[in-house]
Symmetry: D2
Subunit: 343 residues, 4 copies
């Protein structure tokens, strides 16, 4: 199997290579960049030295039909064009946010830029694998979920549309490591400013908000805004989302437990803890797992759900490979079943 990665110089691209290198179905991985050419990727990333020696190629020269899958790990705003072009020749997995929202007006509202054409938005399948496996299997154009929505939706979708909860007042307090902000140096992520520091950012304004709402509303058939507050943790990898969900009268622990187990008992990458046994981010470090903890508080009639992922793996490249496996009819776990790196 031959694979191409466009935008391979970012953390998402590099993480794709790390895992594809272990995938037994993959023969060759080519890397493309719109800005850097004739450079070995390992010159930018010495951890790959001698292990991955491909040279960054310009997009213009590529023959996309030579690849079974092309990953787009590009910044927002440029994948619309490329995914349309490439999807004519082969399967495309887009890791940018450009094809996640079905409604172009919502995209333009939150992203503050022009949306991809509506036809493309319609065609693209949202690749939260556990909740959309059949559609993923049948598509040639996959839109990979955002890091926060992956953690949040895996925690909330078992509950959405169920009588046990009230979906109208959900609050999501999410925390991420700094790789979520990408590889470009900035004042916010300068080590001297970020070390020993905890910050909140983009309160009520983060682009992942409508992505979360779209998936929840699709299950409930209703329209409920969520409160979503992202925070930056002084660590490299990991997301922990703490979610507050009002319970309807009479809902008991046992019912919540059942909903989680119904949803995930057969899922290879979602691990549900017993009540009050909460996961920490390092317990999924470097892996494709999503761990979920939860507890019911009778004093406040509120359910707390906590989910953790590695933002670069299940929140990006790992899930993209999981989707690739499903799209190609391969073993869903191939290449991404490594244990977390702990401690």
């Amino acid at each position: 199997m031959n694979i191409a990665i466009i935008g391979a110089t970012g953390y998402g691209g590099v993480e794709l290579i790390r895992m594809l290198a272990q995938h037994r179905g993959v023969k060759q991985i080519d890397v493309y960049s719109s800005s850097k050419h004739n450079t070995m990727l390992s010159d930018m990333y010495p951890h790959m030295k001698d292990l991955y020696n491909e040279i960054l190629q310009p997009l213009e020269a590529a023959d996309w039909s030579a690849y079974e899958v092309v990953f787009l790990s590009t910044p927002p705003g440029i994948s619309a064009d490329w995914s349309e072009t490439i999807a004519k020749h082969t399967k495309v997995i887009d890791l940018s946010g450009d094809l996640r929202l079905k409604n172009s007006a919502t995209y333009e509202d939150w992203y503050q830029r022009e949306s991809a054409p509506e036809t493309l938005l319609k065609e693209a399948v949202y690749g939260l694998t556990e909740w959309n496996r059949n559609e993923v299997a049948g598509t040639s154009l996959l839109s990979n979920p955002g890091c926060y929505p992956t953690a949040v939706l895996l925690g909330l979708l078992p509950l959405a549309g169920k009588a046990a909860i009230d979906p109208s007042n959900i609050i999501i307090d999410a925390k991420t490591g700094t790789t979520g902000a990408g590889r470009t140096p900035s004042a916010v992520t300068h080590f001297s400013e970020m070390d020993g520091n905890f910050k909140i950012y983009k309160v009520n304004e983060h682009k992942h908000t409508p992505e979360i709402e779209q998936a929840l509303d699709m299950r409930t058939g209703e329209n409920h805004p969520v409160t979503f507050s992202p925070h930056l943790v002084p660590m490299t990898r990991g997301i922990l989302a703490t979610m507050y969900v009002p319970l309807t009268s009479g809902t008991k622990s046992g019912h919540i437990e059942e909903l989680f187990h119904q949803a995930y008992d057969k899922e290879p990458f979602v691990r549900v803890r017993r009540e009050k046994a909460f996961p920490a981010t390092k317990e999924v470090y470097g892996s494709n797992f999503c761990d979920i903890g939860w507890t019911v508080d009778e004093r406040t009639s509120r359910l707390t759900v906590v989910s953790v992922i590695d933002n670069l793996v299940k929140g990006a490249s790992g899930q993209a490979i999981q989707n690739m496996n499903v799209m190609l009819g391969a073993d869903e776990k191939e290449g991404i079943s490594q244990l977390p790196v702990y401690p």
Copy 2:
């Protein structure tokens, strides 16, 4: 002025010394410990070498009337006895949680141990200085607030009891550095386990919950449970509390801004930011300041309040000295007006 510190070997005690050493009214600081004697405190804390050379003394031998103030920086469960004894001779400031709750049943429920006598609970003044200055000025027995309640209440009290908000559905998502867990090594705070890791703990079970509720209920005249979720951040110092408050219909940004400014414009240690300008923990590192940010979300009719403190200073020893200054009629800022250490 002569000062005694009981339980000086913990982080709170050491931080008291750091700031009292700069207090122009303080002549002598003596240190007492129930477990270590005949040891120089600086042998345990080499950062004090040559600067603070006092020897840890046993409590039994002390003449408490020789001190203007005695600080109790002891673990929960032992300050009841000592504060009663010492308060007969001089002013006492108790940094343990033993005297914070007015209701002994609530204490026993959340602390899972026997409460101090009700008479003592009644006598003790709760030292959230900004909101209780007059009582603080008149007492000989001060109970210093907990670290989380300080951050949370400074953020919420300007709103509590006001028509602008609905006090019945408040959610508090709080994050702390590891010094909040004290100086005793444990698996949770072992560096290899905590570095690069973000954790939630004691969900709905943290002792500071009833302390927060008591202060809010006192303002509203009602009884509302809050949801309180503490988290551990891989950093040494600092608390950031993110608080979600439902707004009543028609409440606008300007009204919230006014409430914060009314409350804090004359306060030397609380700094209110303009809307959407959120503080980060490092901006108060090593200082007695509490910085508050906030924003109104019209989509969800919800107010987000963010407050940050240094848990060892405004959340413990700094506020204790602030209270000492008020109790003694000194300049409230003396010894604790240093700028934050940044970066």
Copy 3:
């Protein structure tokens, strides 16, 4: 292939499982502990939940002949007995330091405890794979190198015994992440004490000193003490050793470069950088690689060699599996060829 791990509750044991789980020749991994029984290892390490469900077993009941290899990942002082017993039935790889030194007096001097019997010391093969491959292949009792000696010796052995350098004045300034100190909480590795802190420890007294000297002296045929200074870095994983080596008159860069390339051009796990391109610890994170940088300073006639490893992988469990592969005649890279996890 069936594998047993004794002392599986430490970081070394857990790391063995992470990599053996990816080894295509391994069918079953059993775990033994002298202190914990009837507990699932994943109850202590939730990152393994659902992925590795074995129960810790007592050593007494084991049938060692049922295993192709038994790993001893035990604290110093107890592997002598067990390795002797087990080696009668199957191949043993000892990760403790008990069998590394050939001279029992040296052991007792530096370890301050009784040595294993001299016959056992003689029998045990020192498993620095790159420099001892033939002996490793033929042994049933392998002593796995220490973490520091692995980093140091891979950097120095290409030079030892060569005319290019003077072996009599070598200084090694080494830095490690905190997992080198193990899993037991202590004041030194308490997060609040270690975060934002850089420390030196055991100056001139570290047990790895004679291990380094033994290997160097074996190559030079001389006896030279080295200066070895270990330091603790506020990070979880990784060793960087900076080594200062006096050059003999006339030695040029090109000669040094040649020595490194001669030594390692065919080695799968050692990567030599070009002069002045120094590696950082994170570039080998989670992997079995050792990266080496170096530069010649003509002003001082001194060579600086820098080597980095992941202390838990190439410095412990990864190298142990590399040795296992050699001992069993399998592909040396099997199970341990993953790319580093970056960033």
Copy 4:
């Protein structure tokens, strides 16, 4: 007393303000910048909000004679002009490296830029206060030492020129927190790249090398190159320098101890530990202290000296204020005697 700071937007400038704000002799602190005007410094540094409200002013408009002292906290290459101009009107303390080396050819060699005029280099007094107090007291143009040289020289000067050591083979392995690299974001100090990572940089090429050699050679009357290797630690503040010094035959511990005590027993900011009791960087965090540990190794006839400072305080702004106090005949400790912030 009125003070001006030029280049106040960097970490050095901000740290000057933190400490000058506590100096009882200082009435007013004005801030100047060549790039930013009409901005409040606290808009860039919210930790100063409400506490320091001055506006950044352009240099052209200044009346330097209105200030008792002007601090130049500017990047290399621009202080030569300004210090010459301003020194005509008042006392100047230059924190850049431009005036530290007496030999302009050496400057141009290591800094790769044109040197300040030799007359200015001659006039400027090197402000390592403990070793140059008399000259500091008499000058109007002070050149403040570099961060590394401060740590290194305070550790080595008690020994330089003494028969106890051989000055010809000194090796300095130094480690710094990231604030040493300043406030401008870069790939090297991007949090995701620096967190959990330990790096070496500028091996044998760091500009502070000739500054160290100049001071040592001045004491020995000889010319000896030193080996100097700087490293980056994943922490914000602090330098730890490990220094390896060959002993002459017959030198004993007691003699070394005596040399350190002779040098520093009367010094308020240098603390000498007893043999083998080594300091860690956090033990001087936020303070002007330099702590020194040491040990003699008879096996190798080598002395190890370890010194720690806070690079922004004793290694920059704190020492600059110490020099200011000496230049003005004030109490040397005024404004900078705070205890370290621990933990």
